[in-house]
Symmetry: C2
Subunit: 118 residues, 2 copies
DNA sequence: TCCTTAGTTCAAAACTTATTGAACAATTGT
DNA sequence: ACAATTGTTCAATAAGTTTTGAACTAAGGA
């Protein structure tokens, strides 16, 4: 089972900007960027909203082509679509992330570190 | 008489992104960028919407800190706030404009060239 | 003064987005 | 099989945005 994603050329600039222009979604992207390479599941973002609300915002990000979600068991592993975004809109993601870091301190998101069994 | 503008530090990233995430406003910014240095008045944008509607969108851009409007007679001369945007969010405006140019061909806006008296 | 030009303001309508809780589906562990 | 975990969907509501026309203000020119 896979979730619907736009192809790279279906990613639209106004749509990407509109989707990033929401504080919750910008915080999600900012957090994904700070952990780039590490796929995260939805529950890592629970500090940013309720489970239902996050499902909504994560769907918006995915449908706009900002994130990719891979279904693994009951989890969706979420990553930034940096490759496609960089190809389509060079420099945009980097400047948004850099600006977001400056603009807002990283909220106390996460805290669900992967515990190694003792 | 002057119009209200946010100070540079009042310009918020989510707000700027949200404001740019509208096709009409993005087209306005794209056109301002293509004529950078030349202050434009509202009527130059009439191809993009009705007079009332443009007044609304131009107010949004100004209130978000994306543009500056100077009152000269009955006109408002509109320019990009590139200095403040670049200081606050380095690279953002440039990457948005570059992406907008790629994404959408410049619509047949303008056509009201400044005629030199014969 | 009167008319035109440039743009704003207001109120209404139409539309879109965000947020919530309850119910649901699918996987994993016991 | 049962329960727990992970996340989605649905319907409702609340809230915000966009668009419109009519009425308005202010400046400039005849």
């Amino acid at each position: 089972m896979t979730l619907p994603h736009p192809t790279a050329d279906q990613i639209s600039l106004p749509n990407v900007l509109a989707v990033l222009g929401d504080p919750t979604r910008l915080a999600i992207v900012r957090y994904l960027a700070s952990k780039e390479g590490v796929p995260l599941n939805c529950s890592q973002f629970l500090d940013l909203g309720s489970k239902t609300n996050l499902s909504y915002h994560l769907a918006k990000l995915r449908e706009a082509g900002v994130t990719r979600a891979e279904v693994v068991g009951t989890s969706r592993l979420i990553t930034l679509r940096r490759d496609d975004l960089d190809a389509r809109f060079p420099g945009l993601l980097d400047s948004v992330i850099a600006a977001a870091v400056d603009d807002t301190a990283l909220p106390a998101v996460g805290g669900h570190e992967v515990e190694m069994p003792a």
